[in-house]
Amino acid sequence: MNLLAFAARRLAGAVVLLVLLSAAVFAATAVLPGDAVSAVAGVDASETQRAEVRAELGLDRPAVQRYADWAAGAVRGDLGRGFVGERPVADVLATRLPNSLLLAGLTLAVTAPLATLLGLWTGLRGGVADRVVSTSAQILAAVPEFVVAALLVAVLAVWLEVLPRVSVIPLGGTPLDVPDALVLPVLTLSAVGLAVATRLLRASVADTAARPYCEAARLNGVRGVRLAVRHILPNAAGPAVQALTLTTGALVGSAVVVENVFDYPGIGRELQLAVAARDVPMVQGIATALVAVMLAVLLLGDVCARLLGAREGHGR
């Protein structure tokens, strides 16, 4: 099967998955206790008032029908308006998603090369260095993001006072206007992402290093950087890319936490607000967009991995 057919098949799969997941998100919001009526009507509203608001929001219709309407709109690119504040969901996505993508992009830019280096080093070297790095990574991966954030804040913002404690973006500006405000959020996300990616890469490198052709290269006297660059890296790259794409999944979850800790104006914070208010269109729109981004990254990862995987055995 050529690459194009492969990509097309995976794309179709991703679209099916997107539909299923958006339905799952809708179902999840439907089973949450309470609805937006309390949020919109206020709690001292009478039963009649509540019923009016429910009808106004369309919440009196069956869930299946509400989902079908939403999906029909989404296909046409209309994600509807939030119940609370009544802003178009697409507007909110347009203002917040880029900020989160910036955070994710910077994090990947930090973690990808570092994880590659650490993965190669530990995977090839073994021994004490490997054990120290691997164990540290394991511990770091197990520490919740907010703890990592708190430690970084305590050291870099409170004690050394070299970085701002909060990402206060100038009004009407973007996070790029205050680059130093990006450092702590990116460091926090990178710490967690690095730990995960390093462990995945180390495994892939160790696996490749044990292959017969690497063994042969080594017997022929190829060592160190040359071995890593010529023989290991090309062959470990496929699984490595997949490992990195997997960490982007974790990144989405971490971003929600990190954006709240640093008050970073990203989409994760909006999602949290929308869930608390039972703002179904907003939750639905944001969650679906996040799922779409993740599926796109995974798809891209798969295609890259396949491209790189075709090199299997090169350099022999």
Partner: protein, 528 residues
């Protein structure tokens, strides 16, 4: 007005935003002019520096936030609106009518209490130069406020017949009451009824308005920027500019303050506030009585064992209030007496403080046949201290032999399903600072769901009578009798009142002079 008023903000913001809606009635503060001060005159005894831009951080509403404050329930929405638009008036116990008027010159009440006449202050101008008239007031109250889904704006609609409100010439508005009330000025002049131009439907950045500041920039979920409106009626602000920022997390707000990114941080958690105590650059500026939030436990009288008054009394006697003030708030709170609205003029302060008497509580339980009863207390982190309070209450209850446990819901859950909430047998909640009788009327009278099974038409009648009484002495007597029945037989434990823990940079001054202390105003603020 109990937590309901704050409901939406809870939903949206979780904890601190809650405060926002609370706005309800009341704010009494210490200033004593009944007219806004004259332009450029900072008043005796102070010489604030003119100029500078003050930056303040609040809990806001995210990217879905709009400029329409009639539908925006966060603290930031309200503070922004008050900086931008004119106000009917603010509560001021030292003013002749108990209020300090804003765009109004005064309010007359018909002898039979059937109508209120609002007199517009002549010469008030919008930023486009047009004069403010009765049409603007009518539109703001009837077309915009009445349409609002926010409970706080329903207070006017619940007391006045806004559909029959009429302009009488350019400078008079006549508001018929729905039933006779004598305390309507306190409802209209809570500082939250804001005035915009007649015909305003959508709120836009560029629209003219008549508040102390002119809006120059708005970024949803991040904040807004203002410059001083030099032609503001009465009192022109000292500040050149104002920047209101949205920072949701309490520690992040404190961090922005200590890091110098803002000059004022609103509503911090007790723990966060404590970390600021050693910082030489900032000072705590907690709200003072009556702007204290009551932390409460609601006992559901429609469920066992709270249908028995002896059990309710036992639960009230079991609470170690002093321990709660010390442990949860590091002493920075006041002891409650199981009645909301501590510090408001209509609060029944003559009723003796409830004792801490575990022995008597145990005896009462036995008498009621409820010793060893099993109860679950449901609460959530909706405002700082609520969960900690619940934990201590459960320990107190165990000491009198109740098999009590806490169920802590995640943030934003407690009030999300209101019917489920109001059916809880025992719930930890909070009460916003609002005068006692209007709170009762709004949330407890007539077997309202938020009354948790309290349904006493005699008490309802007493409150209505007190509110319709023009003689203050007689009104107070009736009001106290009504509150006494709540104290004796009621289903609310209110052991602690906590301040909004605000903090500011050293040298910031004059924020409380805006008479809207819980939600600070900046028209009289200055920078060092």
């Amino acid at each position: 007005m109990s937590r309901q008023i704050d409901r939406r903000s809870f939903l949206r913001r979780g904890a601190a935003g809650a405060a926002a809606l609370a706005v309800g009635p009341g704010l009494l503060a210490a200033c004593s002019t009944d007219e806004p001060g004259s332009a450029g005159n900072p008043g005796p005894g102070s010489s604030p520096r003119s100029g500078g831009t003050l930056r303040a951080a609040f809990v806001g509403g995210g990217a879905a936030e709009t400029l329409d404050f009639f539908n925006g329930p966060s603290a930031l929405d309200l503070v922004r609106a008050r900086a931008w638009h004119g106000t009917l008036g603010n509560l001021d116990p030292s003013g002749p009518d108990g209020v300090r008027y804003g765009v109004l010159k005064g309010i007359d009440i018909a002898d039979d209490l059937s109508a209120y006449t609002l007199h517009v202050r002549p010469g008030v101008r919008f930023t486009d130069g047009s004069r403010l008239t009765s049409a603007d007031i009518l539109h703001s109250l009837s077309a915009l406020a009445a349409r609002s889904k926010l409970p706080v704006y329903r207070l006017a609609a619940a007391n006045f017949d806004l559909a029959r409100a009429k302009a009488d010439g350019d400078l008079k508005v006549v508001l018929p009451t729905l039933r006779p009330i004598a305390d309507g000025r306190l409802i209209l002049c809570q500082g939250n009824f804001l005035v915009v131009k007649d015909g305003t439907k959508a709120f836009r950045e560029s629209m003219p308005s008549c508040g102390p500041f002119r809006l120059t920039g708005f970024t949803a979920g991040q904040g807004s920027a203002f410059e001083r409106y030099d032609d503001h009626y009465g009192h022109v602000p000292h500040l050149d500019g104002l920047e209101l920022r949205s920072i949701a997390d309490s520690t992040a707000r404190a961090g922005a303050l200590t890091g110098g990114a803002v000059d004022f941080a609103h509503d911090l958690s007790p723990v966060t506030a404590r970390t600021l105590a050693d910082d030489a650059k900032v000072e705590l500026a907690p709200t003072k009585s009556p702007y204290l939030v009551g932390l409460s436990f609601q006992l559901n009288m429609s469920a066992e064992p709270f249908d028995d008054p002896r059990v309710r009394e036992a639960f009230k006697l079991a609470v170690d209030r002093e321990a709660m003030v010390k442990t949860v708030f590091y002493g920075n709170a006041e002891i409650g007496n199981d009645l909301p609205s501590l510090g408001f003029p209509d609060y029944a302060d003559g009723i003796p403080q409830r004792a801490h008497d575990p022995g008597r509580a145990r005896a009462l339980l036995e008498e009621a046949g409820a010793d060893g009863v099993k109860v679950q207390l449901t609460t959530g982190p909706e405002t700082p201290g609520m969960v900690e309070m619940a934990t201590l209450f459960v320990e107190d209850l165990k000491k009198i032999g109740v098999r009590a446990s806490v169920r802590e819901l995640p943030p934003g859950q407690l009030y999300a399903d209101f019917p489920a909430y109001s059916a809880l047998p025992l719930a930890g909640s909070y009460q916003m600072p609002v005068p006692a009788l209007s709170t009762y009327q709004m949330n407890t009278a007539g077997g309202s769901p938020s009354a948790f099974g309290w349904k006493k038409s005699e008490t309802d009648a007493l409150v209505a009578q007190a509110r319709a009484e023009r003689d203050p002495e007689r009104a107070r007597e009736l009001g106290t009798r009504a509150q006494r029945t709540r104290w004796d037989e009621g289903n609310q434990v209110v052991p602690v009142f906590k301040p909004n823990l605000n903090a500011q940079a050293k040298g910031v001054d004059g924020i409380p002079d805006d008479l809207f202390e819980q939600f600070p105003g900046f028209s009289r603020a200055s920078l060092a």
